[in-house]
């Protein structure tokens, strides 16, 4: 025992040491991170964020310099807080709160104290900076807008939040990141790569030269310039027409799927969300829960599409072989079904076959075709799913897979949807229960961009390119498979001719015959969508939405668009007029019908929007 004790002590000491080393070096990784903070100072060199051009090379967004006051909490020395606060125009409490927050974030890593100084503030502070140990000024660049439109498309940049920092280690506190729109989708291209310089420090926090002679240092890579598909002129014209109205316009180039204009109204000026004013302005916009200026109606507003959907019903009918172009249906001021079901219709001559059916937008005609489509299958369930398959192939009922930062699925109901709604199999349901779908009412919902895409698919006679906003990166036209391969619908090419003829006659003799543009063959479809809202828990019907889809010219179309005006009453009243002006603007470049333009510019719907909130009884569709 006396001999063994020594061995025992020596070996157990050795083992304890090895175990402790294992804990320090392998098990507990926090020391490695501490060592990084400790010995290496990291400096960042921020590159210029890429500029954004419109499709015609017009500069939309560039940069302006901005200066952030940063702090490294552990380097702070007592300073004249009063002077500091008066230079930066903040209160002492606020300063103390921010310094505290910075210390919690990390005593060694820089945090932003005051973001985005103006040039004047910077110049003044720069002279006094030597008095404030631990603070320094980091130059960054802010966005500089050369347009007052398209804020919904361009999006904005803002400081990264803690969640993002944790998710992507590229970002550190104070970095700017695209938060919406093109800025968000193409963040990686636009931002470039920040350069990193590592400086070895000694324990007195003095620089003792580049870490490992700059072996790990990187140079900044400038952001790439983007060319987007938007035509700024068309975009701002659309924006102008939409003043005092709510809704969206989406215009596409059918041959490419490029988004020519994506207008939402009401909108805001992009410069509102730049720099230090961003936060209060954003809050103000966000709090407007009635007009919802931050809500991009063009891509997110899912509305009942109304009559434009009849074109799809007609195409599916032809594809399924349940109707031909000659067969006529009678219309008794609508379509009656069941005991007292009725789908009303406006007065027009009858009976009508397909082409005048479209031109006159006869509800009864499409109700008949729709029921035949559904009833062709053994059960209404199968019928609905088959019908849905066709509608979906036009990009309805699902995300389009585009490069816009937000969107909505819209809705094309499935059999499952109705099974659930009617509590099947306890209660049976029949095709007639869904007949409103025939005319784009009922359960069907679509966003303006989905409608525009649907129109482009009709204009192309059976296929579309996924709508996209990106045209070129650093001058190189994009080659993204998703945007360069056509997506085919389930409808054969030959069925498009009669439907397009019907859409053409909408202009020549149908519901939009007052909106012709001399010399441009337009095909279009009016829509008047009933809609309801809830005010203080009361469901009430509001003035119909005014909807219009159109493409032009009839042969080799250059533009396909959807216009949606909330509570604009019947289709040709607002949406049709705006659509025809947009088409003329795009194809001609000038507007010949100034009276029509004046009418749109001088007519406001604000009164209409105020009605449900007035608290007084009101009449709709006046």
């Amino acid at each position: 025992m006396r001999k063994l004790l020594l061995y025992l002590i020596i070996i157990s000491t050795g083992l304890i040491f090895v175990a402790r080393l294992f804990y320090l070096q392998v098990y507990n990784t926090s020391f490695a991170a501490l060592s990084e903070d400790n010995a290496i100072k990291v400096l960042y060199d921020y590159p210029q964020r890429g500029a954004i051009y419109d499709r015609n090379g017009k500069l939309l967004v560039t940069n302006q310099p901005s200066y952030d006051v940063m702090v490294i909490p552990r380097d702070l020395k007592p300073f004249d807080t009063l002077e500091f606060c008066s230079i930066l125009k903040i209160t002492k409490d606020k300063l103390i709160k921010r310094l505290k927050k910075a210390r919690v974030y990390s005593p060694r890593v820089p945090s932003v104290v005051i973001p985005q100084l103006t040039k004047d503030e910077y110049a003044y502070l720069q002279e006094k900076m030597r008095k404030f140990d631990g603070f320094y000024i980091q130059k960054r660049s802010l966005r500089d807008y050369h347009t007052t439109n398209a804020s919904n498309v361009l999006g904005y940049i803002g400081e990264v939040n803690d969640v993002l920092i944790k998710k992507d280690p590229y970002y550190i506190s104070g970095d700017l990141i695209g938060m919406q729109g093109v800025e968000k989708t193409y963040e990686k291209e636009l931002r470039g790569l920040k350069g990193i310089k590592r400086i070895q420090k000694d324990r007195f926090n003095r620089d003792i030269g580049p870490y490992k002679n700059g072996k790990y240092d990187t140079l900044p890579v400038n952001g790439k310039d983007l060319t987007i598909t938007i035509d700024e002129e068309l975009q701002s014209y659309g924006q102008k027409l939409m003043e005092n109205k709510r809704g969206g316009i989406v215009a596409l180039e059918p041959a490419t799927g490029e988004i020519l204009a994506l207008v939402t109204a009401p909108n805001y000026k992009p410069e509102l969300l730049v720099g230090r004013k961003r936060s209060p302005n954003y809050t103000k916009l966000l709090r407007d829960t009635i007009a919802k200026p931050l809500f991009d109606r063009g891509v997110k507003g899912a509305y009942p599409p109304g009559s434009p959907f009849k074109a799809i019903t007609a195409l599916i009918g032809l594809q399924e072989g349940v109707v031909d172009t000659q067969e006529s249906f009678s219309c008794y001021h609508g379509f009656r079904y069941g005991k007292n079901g009725k789908l009303g219709c406006h007065p027009h001559r009858g009976p009508l076959n397909m082409i005048p059916g479209i031109a006159n937008s006869c509800n009864a005609y499409f109700a008949n075709v729709y029921l035949r489509i559904i009833n062709k299958q053994e059960t209404p369930q199968k019928g609905i799913d088959n019908w849905r398959k066709h509608a979906e192939s036009f990009g309805l009922g699902n995300y389009l897979g585009n490069d816009l930062s937000s969107g909505s699925k819209g809705l094309v109901p499935t059999a499952k949807y109705y099974n659930k709604a009617y509590n099947y199999p306890k209660h049976k349901w029949y095709a007639t229960a869904t007949v409103s779908n025939a005319i784009g009412q009922g359960e069907v919902l679509a966003t303006p961009i989905q409608l525009a895409n649907m129109t482009a698919a009709i204009a192309n006679r059976g296929y579309f390119y996924t709508p996209h906003i990106i045209k070129a990166i650093d001058g190189q036209p994009i080659n993204i498979e998703n945007y360069t391969t056509p997506k085919y619908t389930t409808i054969n090419k030959e069925h498009f001719a009669p439907v397009i003829e019907g859409l053409h006659q909408v202009y020549t003799q149908g519901t939009a015959n007052a909106l012709r543009v001399e010399g441009i063959e337009i095909c279009g479809k009016t829509g008047t969508a009933e809609n309801y809202t809830r005010v203080k828990g009361q469901r009430m019907q509001l003035t119909d939405h005014s909807v219009f889809i159109a493409f032009a010219p009839k042969e080799s179309p250059q533009i396909a668009l959807a216009v949606f005006i909330e509570n604009g009453h019947y289709g040709s009243r607002y949406a049709g007029k705006i659509a025809s002006l947009m088409i003329e603007k795009h194809i001609r470049g000038t507007i010949s019908r100034t009276d029509l333009e004046d009418w749109i510019l001088t007519h406001s719907l604000e009164e209409e929007y105020a009605k449900p909130y007035s608290g007084e009884p009101f009449k709709i569709n006046q």
Binding site: R2, K3, L5, L6, Y7, I9, I10, I11, T13, G14, I16, F17, V18, R20, L21, F22, L24, Q25, V26, N28, T29, S30, F31, A32, L34, S35, E36, N38, A39, I40, Q200, K201, D202, R203, I208, Y211, K212
Partner: protein
């Protein structure tokens, strides 16, 4: 040197010695160089000076091996007395470096006599215990042995260098091996435990809990007629100890000593002040991960975050630059050397060589355990070097002498009858 001597030398321990010294120098170099050109005549650089110290220690080795083995035993007493005098002389002629008057200044170099006093004490203790008339079981002789050990320590403490004085606890090993009653060990360990418990909790609670345990034992054993008076005495002694520890800790210790204990016991977290050394050392070692950052690549070492890194904290450089792998290898080298020396000590035929051998193991072990224990944050900060590894001429020479006198004695064991 006779050919038989060379054959008889224990080359395993020599090899381990050389590995430790060589690897040690590599780390001293990394911890103290700063981008200047390597110049063998640049005496301002510790790593250059250490080369000369190593070279001179090789000369010392040859001298120790050339001297007749009997010399050490015969002159042990004289060497011890000379060593005590050199320690006392510091009070008159000593040079003060960083607060401790522990050095003689010879102009071109400084020597620290306390580094040599360990070997001298080991020799004297060996001489005393191996005396035919000495019986360690006798209290009288125990006291004499304690006196031999405690004298140099008492002279060293006021320099002040309590760390070096602590090393004299190492002589417990040879004493225990030679038959000192285990009671001393039990009392020593219990005292240490009580000390720590008292610091962690309030002394009253410690005493109450121990008393409660005793009462429970007594209730259980009541039929065997236990000696109540003995139990009573024990608890009184324990209570006295605990309260005096508390008193000494709070009133006699200086704040810096209290801080050191508190940090290791986890009662205080202080990474900027007194805990800075330990914290930085842990960061440096921890950042080494599995295989380290590579020689001369340690960011903590380069930035000079760990104080005294080329001396007492040299092991943190090993940890950072050579990682878990390198640090473990160094630990194995030490453990290997200690075990080899224990084995050698046990094979000695003369009691003198055996006691000396155990003293060597004890001294090296205490240094190893306290130094690395401190660097990796297991023990309070006590400034003693890592043998063969740390920068410093006196230390290197002292350990070299200590070790190679034993190797000489070992190589001569066949001649002992």
């Amino acid at each position: 040197m006779a050919k038989s001597t060379i054959v008889a030398i224990d080359w395993i321990s020599v090899l381990l010695f050389l590995l430790l010294v060589g690897f040690g120098w590599g780390n001293i170099y990394s911890a103290s160089y700063s981008n200047e050109a390597f110049s063998i005549t640049d005496f301002s650089q510790p790593y250059i000076k250490q080369i000369y110290w190593i070279g001179l220690s090789i000369a010392l080795i040859i001298i120790t091996q050339a001297i007749e083995a009997k010399f050490y035993e015969r002159f042990a007493g004289l060497i011890y007395v000379f060593s005590l005098l050199s320690l006392l002389g510091l009070f008159l002629f000593g040079k003060t470096i960083s607060g401790a008057t522990s050095w003689y200044n010879f102009g071109f170099m400084s020597l620290q006599p306390s580094e040599f006093a360990k070997a001298a004490t080991a020799l004297a203790l060996a001489k005393f215990l191996s005396d035919m008339q000495t019986n360690i079981k006798l209290i009288n002789h125990q006291l004499k042995a304690f006196l031999i050990i405690i004298l140099p320590a008492l002279i060293i403490i006021p320099q002040p260098d309590p760390g070096s004085a602590l090393v004299y606890a190492a002589f417990f090993f040879p004493l225990y091996r030679e038959g000192l009653a285990a009671t001393y060990l039990i009392i020593g360990v219990s005292a240490a435990l009580l000390f720590i418990l008292t610091l962690l909790f309030k002394p009253l609670w410690v005493v109450l809990v121990i008393a409660l345990i005793m009462v429970l034992i007594l209730i259980k054993k009541r039929k065997q007629k236990p000696k109540y008076s003995l139990y009573l005495l024990t608890i009184v002694v324990i209570a006295g100890f605990c309260f005096s520890v508390n008193y000494i800790f709070n009133n006699v210790f200086e704040q810096r000593h209290r801080d050191r204990f508190n940090i290791v016991l986890g009662k205080e977290v202080d990474t900027k002040g007194i805990g800075y050394n330990t914290n930085q050392s842990e960061i440096a070692i921890g950042s080494g991960s599995w295989i380290g950052k590579g020689w001369k690549e340690g960011t903590q070492t380069k930035g000079g975050f760990v104080p005294e890194q080329h001396t007492d904290y040299i092991f943190s450089t090993v940890g950072e630059e050579w990682g878990f792998l390198g640090a473990t290898i160094v630990i194995f080298l030490f453990v290997g050397l200690l075990i080899r020396l224990s084995y050698m000590a046990e094979r000695q035929k003369s009691q003198f060589s055996r006691v000396y051998g155990y003293s060597v193991v004890g001294i090296l072990f205490i240094h190893f355990a306290i130094n690395i224990g401190m660097v990796i944050g297991l023990l309070p900060t006590v400034g003693i070097p890592l043998p063969f590894f740390s920068y410093g001429g006196s230390g290197l020479w002292g350990f070299t002498l200590l070790l190679f006198i034993f190797i000489k004695l070992d190589s001569n064991r066949v001649n002992e009858w």
